[in-house]
């Protein structure tokens, strides 16, 4: 740091004394900016611009098409009222409670299972090269494929239950996908199946990056395997937890296709997530203002969780 400022100061007078920089040097200066400019502009418009547009629409009276006259916060008032309608559950109430159940279970199970498989695979076992991709491959499937496959598998008349009945275990009963109270857990099952292998790969990479000296040192100090993982290795994986959490959290929030393919909304709409609610209201029910308001609330919720976490993690790193 000190050296570079020193050089910089040295160079400064030279620069100002040279009236024209060489073409090449200027190009080199401008090139990164030039290359980044299009993607920067696209992100600015298509992400942040449309976020603002959505916020604007949520305060209008837009129905099938956008209307640009600002009205009041009626869309938010309706959502607020629906938030507390639990008997019978309003679609919005169902969506947000499902989001809570799905989000917590999906992230927690994916992290737990991913870490466990990664640790087991890290025991220098034979055939790791074969096993690793087997766990990872579900990630290569689209949510639609995962959804349809699990839909057939969990359908009591087609899949698991039917097969076990044919094999003679006739008392077996598993109809969660048809049950309004349990259908959201089938979404968790399918989601975890798809993503935990990916989380495993992230943890595995993290485990491989741990300095073996530290591990050896703790072993010499007489740490048991459990203590080793509990006190040394898992705390060292903290940055991986951060990355995995961010990836999983945004996948959980944007889950839409999985619910549609797996449950087509569930019995009486009992499997809806906020993204389903948003799509339904915006495009099928011609209530664009309500749809936009729900999208804004989704954004606010995810920001409220992720931003403080990011902030604390990143600040710690820069210290």
């Amino acid at each position: 740091m000190a050296l570079s400022t020193h050089i910089h100061q040295e160079l400064l007078p030279v620069r100002s004394s040279a009236p024209t920089k060489s073409m090449r040097a200027r190009m080199q200066d401008a090139l990164p900016k030039l290359v980044l400019a299009p993607s920067f502009a696209i992100t600015l418009i298509f992400v942040y611009g449309f976020i603002l547009w959505t916020i604007y629409l949520s305060f209008t009276n837009s129905k099938a098409f956008p209307k640009y006259v600002l009205t009041d916060a009626r869309a938010y008032q309706r959502l607020w009222r629906w938030t507390f309608e639990s008997d019978p559950p309003s679609s919005w109430y169902t969506s947000i409670t499902n989001m809570g159940i799905f989000g917590v279970l999906y992230i927690a199970i994916c992290l737990g299972l991913g870490l466990l498989i990664a640790i087991l695979l890290d025991q220098k076992i034979r055939g790791e090269g074969v096993l690793r991709p087997i766990y990872l491959y579900p990630m290569a499937l689209s949510f639609i494929v995962t959804g349809v496959a699990w839909k057939w598998f969990l359908d009591p008349g087609l899949g698991l239950e039917q097969t076990l009945h044919q094999w003679g275990w006739t008392s077996f009963h598993f109809d969660w996908i048809k049950n309004k109270d349990f259908v959201i857990y089938t979404v968790v099952i399918a989601g975890v199946w798809q993503a935990s292998g990916f989380v495993m790969a992230m943890f595995l990479a993290g485990l491989r990056g741990i300095d073996s000296e530290i591990v050896k040192a703790s072993q010499i100090d007489g740490a048991s395997t459990f203590q080793l993982y509990r006190r040394i290795i898992i705390p060292l994986l903290r940055p991986v937890f951060l990355s995995a959490l961010i990836v999983l959290a945004h996948m959980a929030i944007k889950s839409y296709d999985l619910v549609v393919a797996l449950t087509s909304g569930g019995p009486g709409g009992s499997a809806w997530l906020p993204s389903n609610f948003m799509y339904e209201y915006t495009f099928k029910r011609n209530e664009m203002a309500v749809g936009s308001a729900s999208a804004v609330i989704m954004l606010a919720t995810i920001s409220a969780i992720i931003v403080p976490y990011l902030y604390s993690e990143l600040r710690e790193k820069s210290r």
Binding site: A64, P88, P156, K178, K180, S270, R285, N286
Partner: protein, 417 residues
Amino acid sequence: MMRKLMMAAAMLATTALTAHADDVKEVQMLHWWTSGGEAAALNVLKQDLAKEGYTWKDVPVAGGGGDAAMTALKAMVAAGNPPTASQMLGYTVLDYAEAGKMGDLTETAVAEGWDKAVPAALQKFAVYDGKWVAAPVNVHSVNWLWINKAVMDKIGGTEPKTFDDFIALLDKAKAAGVTPLALGGQNWQEATMFDSVVLSTGGPEFYKKAFNDLDEDALKSDTMKKSFDNLAKLKGYVDPNFSGRDWNLATAMVINGDALVQVMGDWAKGEFVAAKKVPGTDFLCYRFPGTDGSVIYNSDMFGMFDVPDDRKAAQIALAKATLSKSFQSAFNVVKGSVPARTDVPDTDFDACGKKGIADLKAANEGGTLFGSLAQGYGAPPAVANAYKDVVSKFVHGQITSSDQAVEELVKAIDDAK
């Protein structure tokens, strides 16, 4: 390399230009009739137009209910590049007309006599502000029972005339160990069946008041409560695995004799016909018990957009061909629905089709032709979907009593209005 690229670009540009020049003789059509029978039905129209020298350009978007197609349409219209016409349902036409996006077919309509031939109930959706904006293609009717004849004979059943008859018939099937009622537990199917239940329970006047006029007194009346009770009765006759089933799988249960009856619109007939079944010998079509004489309809329309002048000739040709008697007959024979004009001869139709045509004519004249709320012809989409929510929550047990159902229905419809 560079040169080749430039040549390719030049060729692309010329093809784009020539394509544009051809636009005048081209019909661009957005639709979601992509399944076998539907595509075949549409082919009739393509050939009719080809005879007049118009080429056909499909803009197909798959997906039974047309949600994806409507999203695509919205994008095309918003970008100022509407198709010549698009398959549309009910209130969608009016929404686009209100936004000033639709063309004007009034001249053609007057010349072709659509005003007299097309039932007034349909004109409510095809005419906006005195102008024809859409060409109705067909009329589907919702209040039908589709019955497997072999199963019916086995249990010794006869045509049910009242709701109680129907329950007795279902009991017979249950006793014989057949699934009595094939139902797909998706909200639109449940609500489609409930349309018929309400018409049967409350009669035509009540249906109109509640589901077309959205009269609050009718919606929270005891008759509506009784309708929900009747729906609860019907729910006792479905198999435990019904939730989430697609409508055509439910139809297949009846075709294969696994179930006795399905309550579904006449598009179900297309499935029977595709399975080479003959009405009267393999399957029976009855009106939902207690709804004889009334028809709950929905209709496919071709919405005609406000296109540039050089594309108008093609649009008019399409509109004329769509409502020509020959096409109306040929198309609807294949599709399972009945013609959208009441002066088409029924000679080519099967027994169910003939009955459908006669019923439509009678209902049109008697004023008992009503829009289906479940199918989006009773009220705008926001209301229709709120209604579907309530019915589905009732069927699947989130709403536990008919009192609560009525209360929720009033609240949901009021909220969506």
